[in-house]
């Protein structure tokens, strides 16, 4: 274990054994760069590393070196909203572009990875879901469909007869694992937990940098103990699905502020801070708190490269963007978004138990499709983090540049 800095800022000043403290890492790093295009050589990496060691400031650079990026910004993988085009633009701008394949069939996931590679030789990041198997409960599912039936009828539709499990979970998913090992994306992250130890080992052996997502200290410790390279600190402000490992444990609902600081002080692996970060000032705040990068999702939805609908874009920048809430009714797992009619209806006190993820998704998707067909736009999923109204609409490359300059400007607000 590296020693902790005496200054009490919780950031180890010594080299991190598991990530960049020995030649294995330089080799791994070199391999990563080779995979990602090899625009930086191994001797270069070693020189940078030795220089950093000499000047005694490993803090800022560890994670950026590891990921092979220039600026401490990760575009969140946002399954369904992030696109290969968005990832390409972000990676080419020096940040980490990402794609979420947690709900994609293997062929589609492979195609997305290949599309990104065709557009950039820089590192990028692929996110997988590790949702446990849904519990079968026909009585519960039937009650849910019965509860939703009047809404279906209002759109001249009928509920599905039963709920279908469309999970593309990475748990026990040998076909997806084989694809990932073949395509070798430079960075892979996991949501809703972690895959099996042997799967992690196989991915590590393939030179892939691995990141877990924690909403609390306990999950973060599991990620660290499993040997992953970095952890995303997902605060309660974050849009989309909360990455809770265990839905049966009470959710502490830690804010990005407290969670980032807690993980930065308690862990030895680098922290990537996420949740409610909309601009460069927010990124600077994450770094001040001890994170080595920030992950922004909502901030990138307004980019022309995202897959967001016009409705979604308009809502983000309007008054709806000021007010988001959590619901488990859309997918079966808690997720934050702008309130739509479905969320309001399913928050009623007489609503029955929500089916497990992703069974609930089937009901919701059927209903929202029926609503849209009938011209009702108030059933669309509009995941968004707190402060969404501070997001902007501009091309991704321009946004990354804007974020960088805002980040530098924010630094001047802290006294020396």
């Amino acid at each position: 274990m590296p020693s902790r800095s005496p200054g009490g800022d919780g950031l180890p000043r010594t080299i991190r054994g598991s990530s960049i403290g020995n030649t294995t890492v330089a080799e791994r790093d070199g391999r990563l760069r080779a995979t990602a295009g090899g625009h930086k050589t191994l001797p270069y990496t070693i020189c940078v590393f030795l220089f950093r060691l000499m000047v005694g400031r490993m803090d800022m650079g560890d994670l950026l070196e590891l990921l092979g990026i220039e600026t401490p910004i990760v575009q969140a993988p946002m399954a369904g909203t992030a696109t290969p085009k968005l990832a390409i633009a972000v990676s080419n701008a020096g940040a980490l572009g990402s794609i979420g394949i947690g709900t994609s069939p293997v062929d589609q996931a492979r195609a997305a990875i290949r599309e990104i590679r065709s557009g950039t030789d820089r590192p990028f990041h692929v996110n997988l879901f590790c949702d446990p198997p849904a519990n079968e409960n026909p009585v519960r599912d039937e009650a849910w469909l019965e509860f939703l039936a009047p809404q279906f009828h209002a759109f001249g539709a009928v509920p599905p007869e039963s709920l279908v499990d469309t999970s593309q979970s990475f748990l026990g998913n040998d076909v997806m694992l084989a694809m990932i090992l073949e395509e070798r994306p430079p960075v892979v992250s996991f949501h809703f937990g972690l895959p099996e130890a042997e799967v992690l080992a196989a991915l590590k052996n393939a030179g892939i940098i691995l990141i877990g997502c924690a909403t609390n200290l306990e999950d973060a410790r599991v990620i660290e103990a499993a040997g992953l390279d970095a952890v995303i600190a997902q605060g309660i402000e974050a849009g989309g699905h909360r990455g809770l490992f265990d839905l049966d444990r009470p959710d502490e609902k830690l804010g990005t502020f407290a969670l980032t600081r807690l993980l930065a002080r308690e862990l030895t692996i680098p922290v990537i801070s996420a949740g409610g970060v909309m601009d460069g000032a927010g990124i600077a705040a994450c770094l001040a708190l001890g994170a080595q990068a920030a992950q922004l999702g909502t901030a990138f939805i307004g980019c022309p490269e995202s897959a967001a609908s016009d409705d979604y874009r308009r809502a983000l920048l309007g008054p709806d963007g000021a007010s988001t809430t959590h619901t488990a009714a859309i997918s079966g797992r808690p997720a934050r978004g702008m309130v739509n009619h479905f969320m309001r209806e399913t928050a009623r006190p007489d609503a029955p138990e929500i089916p497990d993820y992703p069974l609930a998704y089937h009901a919701y998707k059927s209903l929202s499709a029926a609503a849209l067909a009938a011209g009702n736009h108030d059933y669309g999923t509009r995941w968004a983090g707190q402060g969404a109204m501070l997001s902007r609409s501009m091309p991704a490359a321009e946004l990354v540049e804007t974020l960088k300059s805002e980040m530098s400007a924010a630094r001047t607000r802290i006294p020396n």
Copy 2:
């Protein structure tokens, strides 16, 4: 209205008309300093002001100038836990010491203010509650006492016959207003809303700097429109009572991160960021987000100068400090603290409606006193913010120095 900065960081680069943009303010500032001891002269203040204007960076200094403090740290007033001794130590260390008199009778409040003045010639800060009158509802109150009766009996006690309203609200409180105008504390802040416009005017005319507390953009806009000098952005992470203006409106539960950024960008008055800030890294993050100071409560509970019990201190630094939650059952208004037995019992689904603030407080205080008399320490109020386990136990003056050096260190983590 001052113009907004073109850089879009939301911090006006022009002079703030209402706070520091004209001689009135210099006069007010001079008066404040005279009141607080007069260790800086009016010409000095004007010189600093003109220098700041010349170099074109008003951002950092506005609020510190206005409050007459050296470092952007406000010790939270924490009624019942903050003491005059704590405020004295903090103010003498160059930050803003504070006392909460929101639950104190007038004589006691006056004595506290005088005690602070006897120990420091620096500015300090007094917090008042603006809770609206509790609704009378004997049926509801009786049901609540009946629900709690078995817990009273377990300690060989009986519930009170009825609930007594012990509110010391500043609303319509002419005696408290007269005392404040006589004692003239340099800074006054309000929780749970704002007092009447004529009360605000009287306080302003007396040269008192006024601060409101907002948990959302709407309340912050009310504070700005009422002409207050600054706003506290109280994030969901904050320990103690949430400063909600209207309990009937859905609570957006904005985190410190999103709320600070939102207010810093949308308002023209300075923002003081609060909630989950435990160390200098957190303060730096608040400043990066555009706040001009941070307010820390939990971080000061471990100081020997606070009134916290030994149980409370031990709990803060133990595993309980990692897990806090909101309850309205203790006082009648939502507040965050470490979970105790009372909070668990009253979170049961069969719990009846909670009486209005501060009626519920009467029931709770009677029960916790009975528990303590019977040797049960699991009924104590232990308000705390998220990340409480990161707080420390050291004398307040030393803590302020530590926070300052941590703040500077955090700056170096943001790239230039």
